[in-house]
């Protein structure tokens, strides 16, 4: 369960806000200090972070498993690409458009499938992940999707004559979207829907008895999480100016799964840690071993899980609580923070 800010003691609350503000400030200053291709790397990480927020909502808070969320990422990416390429829609508007399409598809897919038990839901979503890349190449849709070749768009210009590079501008766009999406899910979880989602995860019968329509709620959650993935996909199309079926193979869904678990299920900060991991771990693995980067990657994943079973976020929490414990007089309350 995420730490409920309102239930925390003011001193702790302030410390958290301080950390968060410092982080946001760093995020804004970062692109001015690093090389252009690194700015591009971090722009993609912002996209992954949004994706993981969505997957986390589904898996961490709603307790539903999905092996196929890459499909919604692909849908969002293509909605953005098609709107820009075929209809000349300004790229910024394709983000909410992708959100809408993702939400609709997610909800419609969720309605019949959320009744399934976890393992079967996993298989159903797996089917989605396998089907979508092939559908993207399907000849009937080729005029839209560009088939195998995909869609190329032009790199967005920096507006208002701002004194930054195109790469930096795209980074800021992605960062702002990511922060907005973070705030959105944060508020969602604090509110009624959030409590209902968690209640349905932990005690579906009790929740149902209290008047929660379990199926609709779970489907809605599915829809919202798909919306996040679609937004992330749109951001990636804008960042790369290219979208093709090859980017959305089965492996993407697995990678997202890895990111959300290693980052920390059931925490929002986990989305950021997971995104950084997805973005940089393959490069790190490649530096260790050129010929078998996959093996190194796998080994590092296993090592992570051993050392930090509740993800990076969980590991940090344990660390921080120990730090706070030595400072705080009321250690009994601080240990009440769960998971």
């Amino acid at each position: 369960m995420q730490m409920n800010i309102l239930a925390m003691r003011p001193a702790r609350n302030r410390k958290l806000l301080l950390i968060q503000s410092a982080f946001v400030l760093t995020a804004f200053v970062l692109p001015l200090l690093i090389a252009p291709y690194q700015v591009f790397q971090w722009t993609l990480i912002a996209s992954y972070a949004v994706a993981l927020l969505g997957l986390n909502l589904l898996m961490g808070y709603s307790g539903q498993i999905s092996l196929g969320h890459g499909a919604f990422y692909a849908i969002g990416a293509y909605v953005s690409g098609i709107l820009i390429d075929h209809y000349g829609v300004p790229y910024i508007w394709t983000i909410p458009a992708a959100a809408g399409v993702g939400m609709a598809f997610g909800f419609l897919f969720g309605l019949p499938t959320v009744k399934l038990e976890n393992l079967y839901l996993a298989l159903a979503t797996f089917g989605l992940a396998v089907a979508v890349p092939q559908l993207l190449k399907y000849k009937a849709f080729e005029d839209w999707t560009g088939g195998f070749q995909g869609i190329t768009i032009s790199k967005p210009e920096v507006p208002f004559g701002l004194p930054i590079t195109q790469d930096q501008w795209l980074y800021y766009v992605s960062l702002v979207v990511a922060l907005l999406m973070f705030a959105l899910v944060h508020n969602l979880l604090r509110g009624r829907m959030g409590r209902a989602i968690v209640a349905v995860r932990d005690h579906p019968v009790a929740a149902s008895a209290m008047g929660v329509n379990v199926v609709v709620l779970k489907a809605l959650t599915f829809g919202v999480s798909a919306m996040y993935l679609a937004v992330a996909g749109a951001l990636s199309t804008i960042a790369m100016q290219y979208v093709s079926p090859d980017s959305f193979a089965m492996f993407l869904s697995i990678t997202l799964l890895v990111g959300v678990v290693i980052g920390g299920l059931g925490t929002l900060s986990g989305a950021l840690f997971g995104a950084v991991l997805i973005g940089f771990l393959p490069n790190f693995a490649e530096q260790i071993s050129k010929s078998a980067p996959g093996a190194v990657y796998g080994f590092l994943l296993i090592a992570f899980l051993f050392v930090m079973p509740s993800g990076v976020a969980g590991g940090l929490k344990i660390l921080l609580s120990r730090v706070f414990k030595t400072n705080s007089k009321h250690s009994a309350i601080s240990t009440q923070e769960t998971k």
């Binding site: 080729e142 088939g147 070749q149 190329t152 790369m240 093709s244 090859d246 980017s247 050129k290 996959g294």
Partner: protein
């Protein structure tokens, strides 16, 4: 009034001419080139579903190792930096940008994967960095007007289709042809070239044509229709999996056309064996590289030199792997371009040299295949020899066909 010194004019002329020759002899470098080394970048799938193709890149690296061990080129060593992109376009973009912006390579060569290389094509052209000898026959890598900085190595699909069409027109002018292609851009290219080649013979007819989607389970229905149409020639332009199906199904339904495969589906291991070796006897395919597994080249000097190189520099690779031949050839071609650039190691000059190759022969291309490029025609491989499968290996026959 003083008049100018009588030797002034000749002196000025002499100085100017000395200055201009000095300018010509002057070394010119873009990022990635210096007096001592030249940086060449590459991305390849070292991980992921297509990791078998990494052999092309490892072989390129091994080739440059040999070049450096023997003193380099024009007094400079070649530093070949190859990064993993996992056959994943977003990763290709990231790694390519890293190579260009951080490692500061002079140019990229031998990039593997159509999808991956398409993802960076626009970036390479906007940044004016040569994207040479891409391992793809996609038409966009032979469009100098739109993408002047991109050049493919693999035979252009339309050109290969043209060669195959011409082969049929020449050897079987009364052919009743059936042709199947995938429903994507590559398939359209093949079909276009093929029809143009077939038109060389007025009596040859395409009696049946079909497409398939990679999402289809089989192409059985198309094949049955081909047999019913009475076709006696079959261009089986499919990717390996479907090509194998085509071979097997034709045999099973008792249809015995002259069957032709594209180069990308002519691997014995991935296509012939899965189809069934006995079912593929008589199948024909174009070729442009010497096959290390073929007895034909046992006494060939170039092949022997290749084996020596494999044993010394490329030890991790199977000594009969045709991908190692491809890597060697692409590296040899890259070296040739660098050599010709001399001391003018700018990206523009690299591109200029690559697009002005004349009658270039590389040791492991089939004899007679020469490379010619111009600023209007970037196609490296345009001619082929044809080979026939005899039940155990490919046997070359006939003469060169192509554009």
């Amino acid at each position: 009034m003083k008049s100018t010194h009588p030797l002034m004019l000749p002196a000025v002329v002499l100085c100017l001419s000395l200055a201009s020759t000095a300018a010509l002899a002057e070394k010119k470098y873009d990022t990635g080139a210096s007096d001592t080394e030249i940086l060449v970048g590459n991305t390849a799938p070292y991980s992921g579903p297509a990791s078998a193709y990494q052999i092309i890149a490892t072989s390129m690296a091994a080739y440059f190792d040999k070049v450096n061990a023997e003193g380099g080129v024009n007094g400079r060593k070649i530093k070949f930096i190859s990064l993993d992109d996992g056959y994943n376009p977003p990763k290709t973009v990231e790694q390519t940008r890293k190579l260009v912006e951080q490692e500061k390579v002079l140019f990229m060569s031998g990039g593997i994967g159509t999808g991956s290389q398409l993802a960076v094509q626009k970036y390479m052209n906007t940044s004016k960095v040569p994207q040479l000898f891409v391992g793809s026959g996609q038409s966009r890598f032979a469009q100098p007007k739109e993408y002047p900085w991109s050049m493919g190595f693999n035979p252009n699909y339309a050109t290969e289709g043209l060669a195959i069409g011409r082969y049929i027109a020449a050897t079987k002018p009364d052919a009743k042809i059936a042709v199947i292609v995938p429903s994507d851009d590559a398939g359209k290219d093949y079909m276009r070239g093929f029809k143009e080649g077939v038109a060389n013979s007025k009596r040859a007819q395409i009696v049946a044509e079909a497409t398939y989607s990679t999402a289809d389970a089989t192409i059985d229905s198309q094949l049955t229709a081909f047999k019913a149409a009475g076709a006696d020639t079959f261009f089986n332009e499919c990717t390996p999996k479907f090509a194998a199906q085509g071979i097997a199904k034709a045999y099973d339904i008792g249809w015995k056309p002259m069957m032709i495969l594209p180069t990308v589906s002519s691997s014995i291991a991935s296509v012939i064996k899965p189809a069934g070796v006995e079912k593929a006897v008589g199948v024909v395919a174009p070729a442009y590289l010497k096959d290390p597994g073929s007895k034909e080249w046992e006494n060939d000097k170039a092949m022997q030199a290749w084996r020596v190189w494999m044993a010394k520099y490329n030890t991790k690779v199977n000594p009969n792997d045709p991908l190692a031949v491809q890597g060697y050839v692409v590296a040899e071609l890259t070296l040739e371009v660098i050599k010709r650039a001399g001391d003018n190691l700018t990206r523009e000059n690299i591109m200029k040299q690559a697009s002005s190759l004349k009658d270039l022969q590389l040791s492991l291309l089939l004899p007679g295949i020469q490379i010619n490029t111009t600023p209007d025609d970037y196609r490296i491989i345009r001619k082929f020899r044809f080979q026939r499968f005899d039940g155990s290996s490919w046997q070359l026959f006939g003469s060169l066909v192509g554009d």
